[in-house]
């Protein structure tokens, strides 16, 4: 699910950047460092705006300045039970690896409808029900997240397509 979240970040700046364009520099730094980051709990999708760029404080002893920036960002936190669209990255006899944006989701063989079977002899290998449903590398899938596990700088998730309206798009 997506949220608009207010966060703060402390950026320390080398004295060589002090000057009239310090504001732009801070904004660039913030965008670079935050956008696309995974905290382990959520993904930062986009920094929307700066609520407040605080006054810089020079750190005694180093000369660098610290800016505390309050900003709003769109974040995405995947939840169990959420339905997302994903792209297949590889298919294996044990299941399907997909990417839903930044989130890697694995669909185990048990969570694939039983009529969609593993077909290793095609190139590339695929899951197919020998009708209109073919899942191979690059296919778009709609899946439901069964479980989410935060890691240090990544999130792993388990998905299923064994429900109505799920499966290849």
């Amino acid at each position: 699910m997506f949220f608009l979240k207010e966060e703060t970040k402390v950026i320390s700046l080398h004295p060589s950047y002090f000057g009239p364009s310090v504001r732009e520099y801070l904004i660039n730094r913030l965008n670079e460092e935050e956008e696309g980051r995974c905290t382990g709990d959520h993904f930062v999708i986009c920094v929307m705006d700066m609520v407040d760029i605080g006054e810089g404080r020079v750190i005694p002893g180093s000369g660098a300045a610290e800016y505390t920036i309050k900003y709003r960002a769109i974040i995405w936190k995947p939840f169990r039970g959420e339905t997302v669209d994903a792209i297949v990255t590889s298919v294996k006899p044990t299941g399907i690896f997909t990417l839903a944006g930044p989130l890697s989701v694995f669909i185990a063989r048990k969570n694939i409808p039983s009529d969609i079977k593993w077909e290793p002899n095609t190139v590339p290998p695929q899951y197919t029900d020998h009708a209109d449903q073919v899942i191979e590398k690059g296919t778009s899938l709609r899946l439901k997240i069964l479980g989410v596990k935060p890691d240090v700088a990544a999130i792993n998730a388990i998905g299923t397509i064994k429900e109505d309206y799920l499966g290849p798009l």
């Binding site: 294996k92 044990t94 593993w118 590339p124 290998p125 590398k137 479980g147 596990k149 792993n156």
Partner: protein, 872 residues
């Protein structure tokens, strides 16, 4: 599943009541039954006294899994003495497939641990099964299921699995930017060989080498090879390169992914940086797997392995991804185009005595000496993170060095320099013209004449054929039996299982083929491996043994082949006495191993120097028996002392006992001449760690020095440049070898040399005088030989000449037991023919060292002068 009691309970325990009945659902950590246990506790009695009393405590046992009770194995009142299965619980999900710490089927967190956790749920699925992902793990059962499916599929399409290594097996990669320049430069002599070299850039391949360009040369015939082999094998890539590297290579060799698909395993997923493990890809069984790799050691000589000869297109680059691997035991490949060409060129221009160049092979004892210990250390250190870090840095450095140092450019420069040097003397043209000329026929460094893949394809086809022949045979036999027994459709259901049981094992099929190749060959190595190498476990030995050859430490009547790394060793001499022993070069062995054929030995026969021909002994004579069983002859004794190529210690002691015992009592073949030799040998042995060696080699080398150097120079002048390069190579090697040696012998040698100088100058230290006196006393015969070999008639020289010249003087009276000792040297008819007598390998080391010192004129003089100054 059955719930087993943990070992940590206070046994015996008594079950007092069962809380759940069959059919009841249970949650994790929910109580299943009450029990009572007894233990001794310390109690206070209220008066300050402490008493130990035995008490019973009631406790409940809690479930460690979710599910539904199926059946109790215990009833109320049971006394349990040891861990047993108490209850069967039907789990809704056995968590057999896990992804990043989650059960991939039910989505539960597998890393949760509570007070009640005996074994983490994540341990239920320990096997990494997927090539390109390490977060997915499966249980053994699931792995078996998947693998069986795969096997059935392979059997149905009559294929096998083939694990393919990349570096130096099917491609050769370098980061040397010189390659890019040569590809641009149409005038470069190497240009035409680089036509099909592909390049790619890896942007994020670790820090320090961002955007490094990789140049990839496909092994000749690769495309054809892969296409043909893919028809009968399912191909997998297993490389020690990074993921990105492997992907890029796959893009080159298999752009539409029809051959490899995404069956690519790189070191990022391998789990070990020092060894390759077939279980990583085929966790359950490897019956249908064949491996091709240029390194046997990383697979620990897995029986599924077909070792291929390494592809070395970019000369001197090696494997760019091998920093993590244990060092390679480099057996010098004499088939290298440069060496072969050099040999041919040298033979043409220099009218070298033919015995040095056999079949384009230079007889050059050159081996990268890597001790087994060092290997073990590298192998064992695989898990140490600090070591890994170091190795990662080392790898980075290798890459950086290659980018900066441009080894190829250096080599080509050398080659060009040789060219020019060769041109100059015989062309009286102006400098400009001669440069133009030399540019026209500048020699190219790179050669593209590798044929390995064609041979490899045949071998793979052969293995495949044999495998399926065996399978068909088994299958038809069992089908017939079953049809008779059962009849009807029932068999159809079972057929699948039966199929799998009938699958023959590549581990049986392949060795069968291989063992026929060198079956019945009993070989002895001489001058093949460096001293101190564990002969039975060296790469070449293991390789040969996998082909059925038997490796013996010494020559007996059973020996069929003597594989000689160089000519004129004591073993060669001995082998000549047995008519049936074929004395062949190392190349014979290597070629036979790579071609899976017992090649005809004739082109590989080592030309034996006439002097070395011992008196033939017929296999059934008394002497043969003696030499085989009792080793009484001097030859044997001598060999025992000198050629210690891996004889076991216990065997040695035994030998000593035998030989000493017999020399005292037995009169056979033990005349005065030989007695002197034995004494000398003994003396040499006893005094080997002080100055004793100088007595044999010192004055000779002093006398030899003048003739050697000019002859060498003369050769430089008129040889083809490649001969010279060869020379330089060798020199370099010698220097390297010298570096490898500990400083002690080097220093000792220097000292000796100094003393020689003094001795010959008439002055000198007391030590030197003593040495000289002992020399005169013990090897007066030598001087005759020295005189003859340093006579002016000596015009033709070869690469090995300096060492041979020294040999003459260094040799401590080599006697063949029956052919009169030093007489050998005396009667040598052709002094120019490299009279290489390698009496012992230790001497060889020293010789090479000294040779290096001689070559390096400046250094030598300086060093000598310095030492002389020190000695006064």
């Amino acid at each position: 599943m059955f719930l087993r009691l943990p070992a940590s309970l206070h046994y015996p325990i008594t079950v007092t009541s069962l809380l759940k009945q069959p059919g009841d659902p249970v949650q994790r950590d929910e109580a299943l039954f009450w029990y009572v246990y007894q233990t001794i506790v310390t109690e206070g009695d209220g008066l300050g006294n402490k008493v130990e009393v035995k008490r019973s405590f009631p406790t409940k046992f809690e479930s460690t899994v979710d599910g539904e009770i199926v059946r109790w194995n215990v009833t109320k009142g049971d006394v349990i003495d040891e861990p047993v299965d108490v209850v069967e619980i039907d789990e809704p999900c056995a968590h057999e497939v896990q992804f990043g710490g989650l059960c991939a089927e039910c989505g539960k967190d597998m890393t949760e641990a509570t007070y009640n956790t005996e074994v983490m749920d994540s341990m239920r699925a320990p096997i990494k099964m997927v090539h390109d992902n390490t977060t997915l793990t499966v249980s053994e059962r699931e792995a078996t299921r998947v693998e069986e499916d795969a096997k059935r599929r392979l059997l149905a399409s009559r294929k096998l699995s083939l694990v393919v290594d990349l570096d130096q097996t099917i491609i050769h990669a370098t980061v040397d930017p010189t390659v890019g320049e040569w590809m641009e430069d149409k005038d470069n002599p190497n240009h035409q060989y680089l036509n099909d070299v592909r390049a790619f850039q890896l942007v994020d391949d670790g820090p320090g080498m961002r955007g490094c360009w990789y140049y990839i040369k496909l092994r000749p015939g690769l495309q054809q090879f892969l296409e043909n082999v893919a028809k009968i094998y399912e191909l997998h890539i297993y490389t020690m390169g990074t993921r990105a590297y492997a992907q890029s290579i796959a893009n080159i060799v298999d752009p539409d992914r029809t051959l490899f698909g995404d069956r690519i395993l790189s070191r990022d997923e391998s789990g070990s940086l020092t060894a390759k493990n077939l279980q990583r890809l085929f966790p359950v069984d490897t019956k249908m797997v064949v491996i091709i790799d240029d390194r046997g050691d990383v697979w620990r000589w897995n029986p599924n392995l077909i070792k291929v000869s390494p592809y070395d297109f970019f000369v001197g680059i090696g494997d760019i991804n091998s920093s993590f691997l244990p060092k390679k035991q480099e057996l010098e490949n004499p088939n290298k185009p440069i060496a072969a060409k050099a040999a041919a060129a040298a033979a043409a221009t220099d009218n070298t005595p033919p015995e040095h160049h056999v079949n384009g092979t230079t007889i050059k004892p050159e081996l990268g000496g890597i001790s087994a210990l060092e290997q073990l250390v590298t192998m064992g250190g695989g898990d140490n993170p600090r070591l890994l870090q170091e190795q990662a840095t080392a790898q980075e450095e290798t890459i950086m060095h290659q980018v900066e140092d441009r080894p190829l450019l250096q080599k080509q420069k050398e080659l060009d320099a040789e060219d020019e040097a060769a041109d100059r003397p015989d062309s009286s043209q102006s400098v400009d013209e001669s440069q133009d000329l030399s540019r026209q026929h500048r020699h190219h460094l790179l050669e593209d004449n590798d044929r390995e893949l064609y041979l490899l394809q045949e071998r793979l086809q052969q293995v495949h054929r044999n495998f399926y022949e065996e399978y068909d045979r088994k299958r038809s036999r069992s089908l017939g039996g079953r049809v008779a027994a059962l009849r009807g459709e029932k068999t159809q259901v079972k057929e699948k299982d039966v199929d799998l049981k009938l699958v023959p094992d590549v581990k049986d099929v392949m060795p069968q083929i291989k063992r026929q190749v060198l079956g019945g060959v009993v070989m002895v190595f001489s001058g093949v491996l460096p001293l101190g190498t564990d002969m039975q476990n060296a790469d070449i030995s293991l390789w040969a043994k996998s082909f059925g050859a038997v490796l013996a430490p010494k020559i007996t009547s059973r020996t069929t082949h003597l594989v000689a790394g160089r000519n004129r060793t004591a073993k060669v001499r001995e082998a000549t006495r047995y008519l049936k022993i074929k004395i062949v070069t190392t190349q014979w062995l290597v070629d036979s191993l790579t071609q899976w054929k017992r090649l005809d030995e004739t082109p590989y026969l080592l030309p034996v120097h006439p002097d070395d021909r011992g008196e033939p002994i017929s296999p059934d004579s008394k002497e043969a028996a003696e030499s085989a069983w009792l080793s009484t002859t001097d030859d044997e004794t001598k060999e025992f002392w000198t050629e210690d190529e891996g004889e076991g210690m216990s065997e040695s002691t035994n030998e000593i006992f035998k030989s000493t015992g017999l020399t005292e009592v037995s009169p056979i073949g033990y005349d005065a001449d030989q007695q002197a030799a034995v004494h000398e040998e003994l003396k040499e042995f006893l005094g080997s760690d002080d100055e004793s060696e100088s007595e044999t080699e010192a004055p000779g080398s002093e006398q030899q020095q003048p003739p050697v150097t000019p002859s060498k120079k003369r050769k430089r002048g008129d040889t083809d440049e490649e001969g010279d390069e060869e020379d330089q190579d060798q020199d370099q090697d010698i220097v390297e070898e010298k570096d490898q040696l500990s400083t002690v012998p080097t220093g000792g040698e220097g000292g000796e040399k100094t003393s020689d100088a003094h001795a010959s100058a008439g002055g000198g230290s007391r030590l030197a005088q003593r040495i000289r006196r002992s020399y005169e006393r013990s090897t007066s015969l030598k001087e005759v030989a020295t005189a003859s070999s340093s006579s002016p008639g000596r015009t033709t020289t070869t690469i090995t000449t300096p060492s041979s010249a020294m040999d003459v003087t260094d040799t401590p009276t080599p006697d063949d037991g029956d052919g009169g000792g030093g007489g050998d040297d005396e009667e040598r008819p052709d002094p120019g023919a490299a009279s290489v007598t390698y009496p012992e390998d230790e001497d060889d080391e020293l010789e090479r060292e000294m040779l290096a010192a001689l070559e390096d004129g400046d250094y030598d003089e300086m060093a000598e002068g310095k030492i002389a100054a020190e000695n006064g």
